[in-house]
Amino acid sequence: MKRKMEGFTERHTVLVVEDNDMNREILCDLLEDDFNVLQAENGVVGLLTLEEHGGDIAMVLLDVYMPVCDGFTFLERKQESGRFDSVPVIVMTASDSVDDEIRCLKLGATDFITKPYNIEVMKNRMKSLIRLQESAAMLNRLELDDLTRLYSKEFFFHNASIVLQSNPDGRYDIVCCDVENFRTMNERYGREQCDSFLHGLAAWLPQVLPGMIVGGRIGADVFAFLTEHQEQDWTDILKNAHFRMNPDQKPMQFSIKYGVAQDIDHEGSVSSSCDRATLALRQIKGRFNTHVAVYDEEMRRMQLREHQLVEFAEPAIENREFQIYYQPKHSLESDTTGGAEALVRWIHPQLGFISPGMFIPLFEKNGFITKLDFYIWEEVCRELRKLLDEGIPAVPISINVSRMDFEALDLAEKIASLADKYELDHSLLHIELTESIAGDNPELIASTLERLHENGFIIELDDFGSGYSSLTSLNTLTLDVLKLDMSIIRHAAATSDYSILRYAVLLADGMRLKTVAEGVETADQVAALKVLGCDYIQGYYYSKPLPGPEFEKYIAARCA
């Protein structure tokens, strides 16, 4: 259900749901100069019209009190179906009943208009809401990865699961493919060459994988494909598949590894099947002459070994193996360091450096994340106290909160008492959460954020623009800052098309949110972001994440 994006002059279709003939006709008369108007005389007809015209409807104007199916019921059913979440609803009330308005808002209404209509106000409000909605839809254009023309991660998962759902008896395999040491290749051959390599590889893979149905880029150098189940051993199938680079390109050394999950479980998620395939793949990384691994019993045991990490976790806190790194955020307005994000590193005495990408998901699964998060927050508070005590200008530091923290702790209370313990001004702590958090238990999350906000903490929404972005989280959560995901920055830099970034900044501006661009690497990107009106920049261009003492030196030098 993609909406065309042809600038804002497009004539939009709106649906008027109102039982009173007269009010409905008045409204249609007034709107028809500016919009295509569809009419429905009650909620049931409204829902049917929505089903029928689906993606064409840009907005619904909804009366509250109607016989047959009233406005509340309409909103409830629309919310339940979830399919029209992106269609904003303006509720028209004849009353000034605050209770009604709150009830509608809770059911997902976007705005209110009181009768009698002031048509100019109304039309302008409608247009600006539609515009906001379209800016958000624009972000979702990241459906296809630009470099490889494969689906982006979320879309791949989504589309693959649709295939599984619609063919419950079908048998399927997942093949994940990874370029070994891609990071090193990038350094050795340069970004451009490597991008062009990936581009070629992504075009070649679907041709050599038998029974290929859908493919996606699920990591920087990881591709995943859903294929029909192959009886033949995948090791044999792929034995003779040799990717040859475009002869115009400078020759590069590379090695491609495949991980396969066979005859995947329809009950499980596509992402967990991909986890299995990549787990298989990880086993053969660095092995010179092995290119294909199929997930098997041994790997399952390996997965069990992952649980070992979970066991190591508890003592790791006591032994202070988790270290906090701080990545500065540069304020474009003041041209100084305007803050930092706290990031965690785990250095285990035997296992060495353990990537957060490895342990965080594990801890999120088993709940240990809450303990670790709390440990990190306290370390950050201690660091801030130290800065203040030593007379180094303290900048706000963002701490990450996980979904589980909301459920396990009285988060607002916990963070406030922590800040108070170290006698920190609350504005020095920024609370960072990812967009996906909002999906679960939205009321709890919204109310917790509200309380944090009332307590003077600044709320940042991370990863905005990665995967599915929806206006719902912007609408329902109390936010101050929008962090634009690296993928949008990369997309803009790679294509020199800054329109998505522009709309993201515009969207943030419209909602009075500050913007932070993450993953900024070059002066060109900084210059472009400056022009677009982005507020803060985080990324290697200014600084990599720094351990505490280096971070202190960094800001002492910058903010002096």
Binding site: D21, M22, N23, I26, L30, S95, S97, P116, Y117, I119
Partner: protein, 123 residues
């Protein structure tokens, strides 16, 4: 009779009606449609039978329609009745007061209708 004269006659607010329906032509079209609007009948019938839900729905609808036509006095009366019968609201009027509201509303409604009929006949 001009539309403005009609409004004077029935005690509506021509100015507020024009804010919503900017041309006389639109106003004339919709004010005549008020003749076939069933909200008031529904309200009065519900009142006869003591149907509280019907009274809320009827008065609420009437209030909205009248507000859009600039029939402010009628809209206000309807609004006061609808608040009285809104599910969950406490009763604030005495039975006498309520009765007076209905009597006033009925009289005003009938005067408005006959005014509009006269206007329609001259079109």
């Amino acid at each position: 009779m001009t539309i403005q004269e009609l409004y004077e006659k029935i005690g509506g607010s021509y100015e507020s009606a024009k804010k919503i329906l900017p041309t006389d032509k639109m106003l004339a079209k919709f004010v005549q449609k008020f003749l076939s609007d069933k909200s008031a009948e529904k309200l009065l019938a519900a009142h006869e039978s003591g149907d509280e839900t019907g009274m809320f729905e009827g008065s609420h609808a009437l209030k909205g329609v009248c507000a859009n036509l600039g029939l402010n006095r009628l809209s206000k009366l309807a609004s006061e009745i609808s608040e009285e019968y809104r599910p969950g609201n406490p009763k604030t009027m005495s039975p006498d007061e309520l009765e007076r509201h209905f009597t006033d509303l009925k009289a005003l409604y009938e005067a408005t209708i006959s005014g509009i009929q006269e206007f329609a006949a001259g079109q």
